[in-house]
C-alpha cells in the first residue's frame, strides 16, 4: 500500500471514528470514556464550535450517536410540554424535534425540572425519560417507536420534588429507576416494544441516583443504588446477582470500573463483585472522600470525587488513600466564583476532567500528572446543572437555555 493510501486511510479513520456517548455519564454510566480522544484542553470562544437555543429547561446531558446529538427539554407554565431534539453534531443544525404532552405529574422543586434525566440510546434508537414518568422511544430519524406513561400504569410513582434518574440501555433492556417515597420501583423495559420485562419493588424512599453497569466475567450487571445500598441485577430478567447493604447516597450515583464499584456510601466505599457474582467484597471505605451532588469518577488507577465544598479529591483506587486535592476555584479572584456543582465530572483519553458549575463556570482539570491542575476556565453566563458529554475531539454541555459544543 502506498504511503498516500495509508495517510488517506488514517484520515478516513480519524473522520469516521466515533466515540458515542449513549447515556448519562457515557460508558458504564460512569463518566470515563478512554475511546474519546482529542477532547479539547481549552474551553474558550476559540474552541466553541457552536451553540444552539433550546425550547425549554433541562438538566439531562446531551447524548451523541454517530453524527447526531440528542437532548431533551421541558417547557410551558407547568412543564407539561416534553421535547426531544436532534441536532447535527458537525454544525448544530436542527434535524428534527418531537413534542409530547406529559401524562404524569410535572411538579418539581424549582431548581430541577421535568427534563432532568439524560436520554439513552442503543445506537439505533433514542429513549427519552422525564420526571413525569413518560418514556419515549424514537429511531434516529425521529420515527416514534413506542411510548409509555409509567404514571398511568403506576399512579403513585412520583416525587413532588421531581425525579432525575437517567435510563440506561443494557443489552435488549431499557432500565429505569422510578424510586420515591410511595410506589417505588425499578423496571426493565423491552427496548423494542417498551413492555415490562421485569419490575422490582424498591425501597420506599426518594432516590435521584441513576443505574450504572459492572462487567463481571464479560457479562453486564446493572447496579441499582438506593438509600439501602446497591442491588446488582441481570438486565434481562431483573434477577438478583449481588446486594450491597451498607447504605448509599440518594443523589450522587456510583462509578464502576470492570467488576469494581465505587459507591457514595459512608463517604466512598469500594467493592468488587466476586467472579461468581454471589457476593461483594468490600475493599475500603474512606469517610473523608464524601461526594457532594456530583458522582465519583474512576480513571485508570485513580478515583475522583467533588465534595460539597467544591474540592476535587483524587484517591488511589486500590486503597482509597488520598493522593491530592485542589479547590475548584477561579484563577482570577474577581471573576464569577465557581460556586456549587450539580453536574458530575467526566473524562476522555487525554486525562482532562471536564466540570461545569451551577454558576455556569466550566473547568478543565489536567489530572494526568502527580497533581491536578486547572488548565482552562470559561464563564458561560447561564445556570448549568448538567453533566458534560464527550465525543472524539469534542465536549458538549447544556445550560438552562442552550446546548454548547466545544472542540471540533
Amino acid at each position: 500500500m502506498k504511503i498516500t493510501h495509508l495517510i488517506l486511510c488514517a484520515l478516513l479513520l480519524s473522520i469516521t471514528a466515533k466515540a458515542d456517548w449513549l447515556n448519562f455519564r457515557g460508558p458504564s454510566a460512569s463518566g470515563y470514556n478512554p475511546d474519546a480522544t482529542g477532547t479539547p484542553s481549552e474551553l474558550s470562544d476559540a474552541t466553541l464550535a457552536w451553540k444552539v437555543s433550546l425550547p425549554g429547561r433541562g438538566l439531562g446531558s446531551a447524548i451523541i450517536v454517530g453524527d447526531k446529538v440528542f437532548v431533551t427539554a421541558a417547557s410551558g407554565p407547568d412543564q407539561k410540554q416534553l421535547h426531544v431534539l436532534c441536532f447535527g453534531a458537525a454544525d448544530g443544525s436542527p434535524i428534527w424535534e418531537r413534542r409530547f404532552w406529559a401524562t404524569g405529574r410535572t411538579m418539581s422543586h424549582k431548581k430541577t425540572c421535568v427534563a432532568a434525566p439524560t436520554p439513552a440510546s442503543d445506537g439505533e434508537r433514542v429513549y427519552a425519560f422525564y420526571s413525569s414518568n413518560d418514556v419515549v422511544c424514537l429511531d434516529l430519524k425521529g420515527n416514534l417507536m413506542w411510548l409509555r406513561g409509567l404514571t398511568l400504569d403506576y399512579p403513585n410513582a412520583s416525587n413532588s420534588l421531581g425525579m432525575s434518574s437517567s435510563p440506561l440501555v443494557v443489552g435488549n433492556t431499557l432500565v429505569v429507576q422510578v424510586e420515591n417515597d410511595s410506589e417505588s420501583f425499578a423496571a426493565g423495559l423491552d427496548k423494542i416494544s417498551g413492555i415490562n420485562k421485569w419490575k422490582l419493588d424498591r425501597p420506599k424512599a426518594a432516590n435521584w441516583t441513576s443505574p450504572t453497569t459492572l462487567n463481571i466475567n464479560g457479562e453486564e450487571i446493572v447496579a441499582l443504588q438506593s438509600s439501602k445500598g446497591v442491588l446488582g441485577v441481570l438486565p434481562d430478567t431483573g434477577s438478583r446477582i449481588f446486594n450491597f447493604e451498607g447504605g448509599a447516597a440518594t443523589i450522587p450515583s456510583s462509578a464502576s470500573a470492570g467488576d469494581s464499584l465505587y459507591i457514595p456510601s459512608g463517604g466512598l466505599t469500594a467493592i468488587t463483585v466476586k467472579t461468581d457474582g454471589s457476593e461483594t467484597v468490600k475493599h475500603w471505605n474512606e469517610s473523608a472522600q464524601r461526594p457532594g451532588t456530583p458522582s465519583p469518577l474512576v480513571i485508570n488507577d485513580k478515583v475522583f470525587i467533588i465534595n460539597n465544598a467544591g474540592v476535587l479529591n483524587c484517591a488511589n483506587r486500590q486503597t482509597g488513600e488520598r493522593l491530592w486535592r485542589i479547590r475548584l476555584e477561579r484563577s482570577d479572584k474577581s471573576a464569577t466564583p465557581t460556586g456549587s456543582f450539580s453536574g458530575s465530572p467526566v473524562a476522555g483519553a487525554e486525562g482532562f476532567i471536564y466540570l461545569f458549575s451551577e454558576a455556569g463556570v466550566g473547568l478543565v482539570v489536567d489530572v494526568s500528572g502527580d497533581e491536578g491542575e486547572i488548565v482552562s476556565e470559561i464563564e458561560l453566563g447561564e445556570t448549568i446543572l448538567s453533566t458534560a458529554s464527550l465525543d472524539n475531539g469534542a465536549v458538549y454541555i447544556r445550560s438552562d437555555r442552550h446546548l454548547w459544543k466545544f472542540g471540533k
Binding site: P77, R99, L152, S160, N180, L189, I195, N196
Partner: protein
C-alpha cells in the same frame, strides 16, 4: 409516492371533505385504520408495536391527515393522544419544509370549534400560528372565555399586559377594569397570582382569592390519632367508618378527642392542623366538610398537601398517597370525581410523620373543587370568605 399534482388534488378534496362533509369523509380509509390502531394502546406498553406501524402509515401521508387526526384526539386516551400529536406535527413539519399545501383554513375552523378536544385545539392553534402568525394573533382575544385552558391563557396574558400598560400610564380606572376582567377569566394559578398582586398592591383593590380559586374554607377537624412509625396511614380510624360530628373517640395515647369547627382565611385555602392542635408529630388528623352541587356532574378535586393523605368523596376513597414533606403547591394532585346533585361529603386524612427538621413542621392541606378546565365550582351554600379574625363556624350556623 403521489405526483405533486395528484397530491394537491387529494389535499383539496380532503379539505373540502373535512370542512364541508366532516361525517362523510371520502378518504377515511387512509387514516381510519391507523387511528383505530393507535387508539388501542393500553397499559404497560400494550399495543405499542401495532401503534408504531400505524404511526408510520399515518406519517407517510400528507397534510390531509392533520384534521382527521386532531379530531380523533377527542376520544383518545392520553397516550394515544401523544401518538397522534406526534404524527400531526411530523406531517406538518414535513409538508412545511417542502412548501406543500397545509390545511390552514381547516385548522382555523378546528381550533375555533369549542366542542373539539382542548389539547387538540391548542395544537391546532400552534400550527395555525406557524403558518399565519398575524391572523392567529388576531383571534387570541376571543379565547378569553375559552374552555381550553391553553388557549384561554393566551387571551388572559394579553389582558394582563394591557392592564399593566394602563397602570404604567397612570390610567388606573381602566387598568382596574381590564385586570378585573383578566381575573374573572384566569384559570391558572400563576396568572391569578400576578393579577391579584397588581390589583391589591398597585391599585388598592380587594380580591377574594379563595372564592376565585374555589378553595373550601370551612371544615370540622379531629386529631390527633396515632401515626407512630407512619403506621396510621393504613389504619382506619373511626372517621373513616362513619361521620358523627358530635362523637368523641380515643385518640393518640388514649386521650379522648372530638370534632371541632375550623375555618381558614388563608388566600390559598390552607387548612392548618397545627393551629388548633399545636405542632405535633407522628399523628393523624381528619377534616370533614360538605359541598352542595347544583347538579350531578363531573368535577375535579384539586389538592395540595405535603403530608401523607387520603381523600374520600361521599364515603368512597378517591386516592391516597404516603409521601411526606416533598413540597406542596396548589393543584398538586388533580383527582377526577363525580359530584352528586345536592349534598356531597368530603373527608381528608392528613398524616404527620416523625421528621424533626424545620421544613417538616407543616401538617396541612388545601382543597378546591373545579371543572376540568380549572374553573372553580362553588358550593350552592358557599359562605363568605372568613376574615382573618373571624371565629370558626359550623356549617348552617
Amino acid at each position: 409516492m403521489l405526483p405533486p399534482n395528484m397530491k394537491h388534488f387529494l389535499f383539496l378534496a380532503t379539505s373540502l371533505a373535512v370542512t364541508v362533509l366532516p361525517t362523510a369523509n371520502l378518504h377515511a380509509k387512509v387514516w381510519t385504520a391507523p387511528l383505530d390502531q393507535i387508539a388501542k394502546v393500553g397499559p404497560e406498553g400494550a399495543g405499542n408495536a401495532e401503534a408504531a406501524e400505524a404511526w408510520a402509515e399515518l406519517t407517510g401521508q400528507g397534510s390531509e391527515i392533520i384534521i382527521p387526526v386532531l379530531e380523533a384526539m377527542e376520544s383518545a386516551g392520553p397516550l394515544a393522544r401523544n401518538w397522534m400529536r406526534s404524527a400531526v406535527e411530523t406531517v406538518f413539519e414535513k409538508d412545511l419544509a417542502a412548501s406543500a399545501d397545509l390545511p390552514t383554513d381547516a385548522l382555523k375552523i378546528f381550533l375555533l370549534d369549542r366542542n373539539n378536544e382542548p389539547n387538540a385545539r391548542r395544537l391546532a392553534f400552534d400550527l395555525y400560528h406557524r403558518v399565519t402568525p398575524n391572523e392567529a394573533d388576531a383571534i387570541v382575544p376571543g379565547f378569553i372565555d375559552d374552555p381550553s385552558p391553553g388557549l384561554r391563557r393566551e387571551a388572559v396574558a394579553r389582558l394582563i399586559d394591557e392592564g399593566q400598560n394602563l397602570l404604567n400610564q397612570e390610567r388606573k380606572e381602566e387598568s382596574i377594569t381590564t385586570l378585573t376582567s383578566a381575573l374573572e377569566a384566569a384559570r391558572e394559578v400563576d396568572q391569578i397570582d400576578e393579577i391579584a398582586k397588581l390589583l391589591r398592591e398597585k391599585l388598592d383593590q380587594k380580591v377574594d382569592l379563595p372564592r376565585q380559586f374555589g378553595f373550601l374554607m370551612y371544615w370540622d377537624l379531629i386529631a390527633p390519632f396515632d401515626n407512630t412509625d407512619r403506621g396510621g396511614f393504613d389504619l382506619a380510624y373511626p372517621p373513616e367508618e362513619s361521620i358523627d360530628l358530635n362523637g368523641s373517640y380515643p385518640g393518640k395515647e388514649g386521650k379522648e378527642i372530638s370534632w371541632q369547627a375550623h375555618s381558614t382565611s388563608d388566600d390559598y385555602g390552607m387548612v392548618d392542623f397545627n393551629k388548633p392542635f399545636s405542632p405535633l408529630k407522628q399523628v393523624v388528623g381528619y377534616a370533614y366538610t360538605e359541598f352542595n352541587s347544583i347538579k350531578a356532574r363531573s368535577a375535579q378535586l384539586r389538592l395540595g398537601c405535603k403530608n401523607a393523605w387520603k381523600i374520600w368523596l361521599n364515603g368512597q376513597l378517591v386516592f391516597g398517597r404516603d409521601e411526606y414533606h416533598r413540597g406542596i403547591r396548589i393543584d398538586q394532585y388533580i383527582l377526577p370525581v363525580h359530584l352528586d346533585k345536592g349534598k356531597n361529603t368530603l373527608l381528608v386524612k392528613a398524616c404527620q410523620n416523625e421528621q424533626e427538621q424545620d421544613w417538616t413542621v407543616q401538617w396541612q392541606f388545601q382543597l378546591r373543587v373545579t371543572d376540568e378546565t380549572g374553573t372553580a365550582i362553588l358550593s350552592t351554600d358557599r359562605k363568605p370568605t372568613p376574615d382573618a379574625t373571624e371565629p370558626a363556624r359550623r356549617r348552617g350556623e
